[in-house]
Every structure is written in C-alpha cells, then in structure tokens.
C-alpha cells in the first residue's frame, strides 16, 4: 500500500511540474504573437483615435508596459486566485464566465461520444477477437479503418449535408432547440441529446475503428497466454473466459489510451464545433486566437491543460485500482 501511495505522489509531483510548464508556455506564447490587441480593436472603428484614448484603452485591458517578469508574477498570482482576467474580444465579460458555459457543452458532446466510442469499440474488438467467424473480422475492421481514414471534418460536412439538410433527420446545428429553455427539464435534455446526436455520431464513427482494432489486437495477444488455456482446460464457459478473464486484462492497456483521449476531449472537438455550430471550447479558442484575446486564450489553454492532467491523474488511480500487478 505504501508503494502505491508513493507512486501516486510521484505522479502528482509530475503533474505539478507539467502544470507549471504549461502555465509558463501559456504566458509567453500570446505575448510573442505579433499584433497588439488594442490596435486590432481600434481597427474595427471608422475614426482614428488620439494617443490618450489609446492609452486609456490599453490600461483598461491591462496591457501595461510593466517588465515581462513583473507581468509573469502577477499572472501566476491571479491564476492561483482563480482570476482569469477580462476578455478582450468579449469585453468586459470575465474570462471565467465565457469559458464555463462553453466548457460544459464540450464535456457533454465530446465526453459522451468518447465514452460510447470506447465502449462500443472495445466490445466489438472483444467479440471479433473471440469469435473468429469470417464475416465480422474480415469486414468490420477494414471498413471502419477506411471510414476513419477520411478527414473528420469532411465526413462531418457530408453527414450534416445529407442527414441534416437534404433529409432533415437532424438539426443543422446548435446545442439545443430554440423552443426549449435550458434547465433540468425533460424537453431540454431530449433536445440537447437530439442536437448532439449527429455530431456525436460522426465523432464516434471516426474513432470507433481505432478502439476496436487495438482491443482486438491486445485480446489476441492475451488469448495466447497460459492462463487462458488453463481456463479452457478447466472447462469454464467461453463467455466467462472472454469477459471475465481475457477482456478484463486486455482492457488495461486500452484504458490508458482512453484516459489520454479523455483529456484531449477538452481540446475541444474544434472542427466538430465549427461545422455543427456547437457552442464549445474549441471554437472559442479559434476566435480568441483570431482576436488576439490574450486573457481568453490563456484561460482556455489553461483549462484544457488542467483537464488533461486531471484526466491522466484519474486514470493513474484507476489503473492502480484495477491492475493488481501494480499494487505490489
């Protein structure tokens, strides 16, 4: 037990270092980008601004001439206090407000798709590895691999066009319908699911092949091991062997991959959101970059990084829990 605690603490230490590195990177990159956000905003106006007005505006946005190191310390301090600053593009809205609603939708859509894709893919992979019936194994992996080879946004656009526009089976975008009010009510939840259906379907379709294939390959390796033959010899039912023994051990390596994918979910399924007009974090990031909105960019990058670290952390704990070998 002590050993695993040690292990977890070391991992935690690593995550702190990674977080610090990310934060530092996060701080410097926007500042290295050319273009002055104040100037960009002025460019939107027809008239010209006298120097005093520009400076007043700069102060409002906190674009001071303080030396870089000073800015860095204030940046770190405010992050620790949970103050992510005021957005420039959506002035004067605080960054935390803008990110929070977007964050929820991204988690909903991408998390939902990932869970289904992983479960379905793993299940299929297990079945295929077990039943060596020619049909499934020779058709499904290649077909799914081919579908997954298309650029994601290409499939999404075609799907949106055919199923949303031509056939009108699905809505053309947005996270929920215009006639429901957000909240914990059935119409809203159903509407949200309905609107997430097509984007989620496209995301699932593209990633399904990958999960299925890796599970299948690992299963095949596992099936060759001694304890499986032993189980057979003892006369255990094949269903039992498949699920309780083979799958359970095979799923572990796949699960680590899931952990990382979960983290990347919050990178925002950027392209999905653009194509389906889905109000998540990914598109927000693109807008922030375009508007040179430092605070928003940093806030988004930070949220995403922390989410990835948290997801990895949780996977570490889960692996430790499920895999008795690590509980040395």
């Amino acid at each position: 037990m002590n050993q695993s605690l040690n292990y977890l603490l070391r991992r935690l230490g690593f995550y702190f270092i990674a977080a610090w590195a990310a934060l530092t990177l996060n701080f410097f990159i926007p500042r290295l980008m050319p273009g002055d956000p104040a100037a960009i905003i002025f460019a939107r106006f027809r008239g010209k601004l006298k120097p005093e007005a520009i400076n007043a505006l700069r102060e409002t946005f906190g674009l001071t001439d303080e030396p870089l190191l000073g800015q860095y310390w204030s940046y770190l301090k405010s992050i620790l206090q949970g103050d992510l600053g005021i957005s420039i593009a959506y002035f004067p809205e605080p960054v935390t407000n803008i990110i929070s609603s977007a964050l929820l939708w991204t988690i909903f859509l991408a998390g939902f798709s990932l869970i289904i894709s992983f479960s379905l893919g793993t299940l299929l992979g297990t079945i295929i590895a077990w039943k060596r019936s020619g049909k499934l194994d020779s058709t499904l992996p290649p077909v799914l691999a081919f579908v997954g080879a298309f650029p994601y946004f290409w499939l999404a656009m075609v799907a949106l066009y055919i199923f949303g526009f031509e056939l009108s089976w699905f809505p053309l975008g947005h996270a929920y319908g215009d006639d429901v009010t957000p909240g914990f009510n059935m119409p809203f939840i159903l509407s949200a699911l309905y609107h997430a259906a097509l984007p989620a379907l496209t995301m699932i379709l593209v990633s399904l092949g990958g999960w299925m294939l890796s599970m299948r390959n690992i299963m095949i390796t596992t099936l060759g091991t001694d304890y499986i033959s032993f189980a057979h010899a003892k006369g255990l039912s094949s269903r039992l062997i498949m699920l309780r023994y083979a799958a359970r051990n095979a799923i572990l390596p796949n699960f680590t991959g899931f952990g990382m994918a979960l983290g990347f979910v919050l990178s925002g399924a950027l392209l999905t959101e653009i194509i389906f007009s889905y109000p998540g974090q990914g598109y927000l990031l693109l807008q922030a970059v375009r508007a040179q909105d430092f605070p928003l960019m940093q806030g988004l990058f930070m949220t995403i990084t922390f989410a990835v670290l948290a997801a990895n952390w949780m996977v570490d704990i889960a692996v430790l829990f499920f895999d008795p070998r690590t509980r040395k």
């Binding site: 019936s133 020619g134 060759g224 925002g268």
Partner: protein, 309 residues
C-alpha cells in the same frame, strides 16, 4: 554480430513484402507519389482560372471545375505533392526525434531517464490541437510552419512508445551479453537493438505520417495554411468556402477527400501488415481460419500460436 543484424533486417523486409496488406498499401502509396511527381507534366495548370466556375465533370475537365473555374483533377493531383511531402517529412522527423530521445531515455536509466521522461510526458500532456492552432496562426503560413508545428506537437507519443520498447530490450539477454563483452553503448543501440525495433520504428513512421497528413489537412481547412498554394487541405478550404456541397458541386469536395482517405487507409494497411509480421499469431489465426472449416470452430475454441520470444 554483423551477420545477425543483416539477417534480421533482411528477414524483416522479406516478411513485409510477403504480407498482402503491406504490399497493397505500399503499391497505393507509390502510385500517389508517382502521380504527384508527374503532376505538372500531365495535367492542366491547377492555378489557371480557365472556365466556368463549378461546372460538373466533362470531357474537357474530367473532374469538373471549382469555384474559380480551376480544373479539379489538376488540383487534386498537384495537391498531393505538398501534402505528402509535409506528411512524410513530419513522419521521419518524429521518428528520428522519438528514437533519439526515447531510445536514450529507455537505455540509460537513472537521471537521464528521469529528465527525458519528464520532457516527454510534459509534451505529451500539452493539448495538441490548441497549441497547433495558436502556433500556426502566429507563424508565417507555409509547409515549413506546418511541419514544425506538427513535429512539435507529435513527437512525444512515439518517443514514449520507443522508450518502453527500448527498456524491454535493454533487459534482454543479448544486450547483457553485448555489454559484458565490452561493446560500446552506442554500438549496442545502433547495431543490436535498433534492427530489432524495425517494426516499431516503421509503424511509428507510418502512424506519424497518418497523423501529420490528417492534422495538416485540418489546419489548412481552418485557413491556417498557405491558402494560395495548392494542397489537399487548401482544396477543401476553398471547396467549403465556395459552398461546394450546398451548390451540389460534389466533384469539388469528393476527390480530395477520397484521396486523403485512400492514402491514409493505405498507410494503415501497411501498418496492419507490419503488425502481422511482428505478431505472427495474427497471421496464424488467419491461416488456421482458412484451413479449418467454420463448423469445427466451436465455442470459440481457437488454435492459437504460442509466442516463443
């Protein structure tokens, strides 16, 4: 020692060449490369604003024209060039960097390993797409930027995989034997271990290339590439800007998408092939499955080949 290395390498290549999947994949890739290289000599000028925009396929333009009246076939073929170039270059660089850092980290344990693993893990945990978007929008658009951004965000994954493989090999007998007989570490890495890691390196290269092609096309679709060059990604960017689907001009959208899919799929096939060569069990069951009639495969009992390594 040299004989050993030679035969590992040759054996591996022969194994690959015998594999159905790998060969199919390789042939397709070479076909595309061939077409891309010949491109300028066999097609019309892809950038010339020739005819009526958005006209369907005809004898004059086999794949029709795009929103500016440019020949789609020419665009598709010449688009292959930069896309494949950036894709494979990224693949090679990722593998080189991965092998270097991952290999050193896996071979030398202790402080070097701790430091390099930390580096790898930090890069691994950085959100890739956001970083790519930020960097690509900041740097001047073009193939160099794309390659740089892709390599920066993609090297860590392969490094980690190579590192674990290296650690496995490190503890094997043949390595201990080599060390005991006084061989230099570098020699061991390069001459003993690397040849055995061929499958991993090759499939890393393929995997990285697939990733590079996909990510590149994605970035260019967002308009972050150099939109005045002709690449598969920019073709799709223009197609969507010109509302290709909504005007029913599928010929603007489909050929490039299909080409990307075919190339990625071909690369995946090669990877499948490599997998099978490395993991003979996968082939064995296929062989067994073909030889044994279906009805004798009862209750999921399968003949399985043992691993002798």
């Amino acid at each position: 020692m040299d004989n050993n290395q030679d035969s590992i390498f040759t054996r591996w290549i022969i194994g690959i060449l015998r594999n159905r999947k790998a060969i199919t994949g390789v042939v397709i890739i070479f076909l595309f490369i061939f077409l891309a290289a010949l491109g300028p000599f066999i097609t019309q000028d892809p950038t010339a604003f020739l005819s009526t925009p958005l006209s369907p396929p005809s004898w004059e333009h086999w794949l029709g024209t795009n929103g500016q009246g440019q020949d789609v076939l020419a665009q598709t073929i010449s688009g292959a060039r930069q896309t494949l170039l950036v894709g494979f270059t990224t693949g090679i660089m990722v593998v080189l960097i991965g092998a270097l850092i991952g290999g050193i980290s896996g071979y030398y344990s202790g402080r070097i390993d701790d430091f390099l693993s930390l580096l790898i893990n930090v890069f691994l945990v950085m959100p890739g797409l956001p970083l790519m978007v930020i960097l690509a929008s900041w740097l001047p658009p073009g193939p160099a930027t794309l390659t740089g951004v892709l390599v920066l965000t993609g090297w860590a994954w392969n490094a980690r995989v190579i590192r674990s493989q290296m650690m496995t090999f490190r503890s094997r007998d043949f390595v201990s034997a080599a060390i005991v007989s006084g061989e230099h570490n570098i020699r061991i890495i390069v001459l003993e271990i690397m040849p055995r890691m061929l499958s991993l390196l090759a499939s890393s290269f393929i995997g990285a290339s697939i990733y590079a092609i996909g990510a590149q096309v994605g970035l260019e679709f967002l308009g972050l590439g150099d939109v005045s060059t002709v690449t598969w990604g920019t073709n799709l960017y223009w197609a969507s800007n010109d509302m290709a689907l909504l005007t029913g001009s599928w010929w603007n959208f489909v050929p490039t998408g299909l080409s990307i899919a075919i190339v990625s799929f071909a690369l995946t096939l090669i990877n499948f092939g490599i997998d099978e060569v490395t993991n003979p069990r996968l082939i064995a069951e296929r062989v067994w499955r073909e030889k044994i009639p279906i009805d004798t495969v009862v209750n999921g009992i399968t003949p399985v080949v043992k691993d002798h390594e």
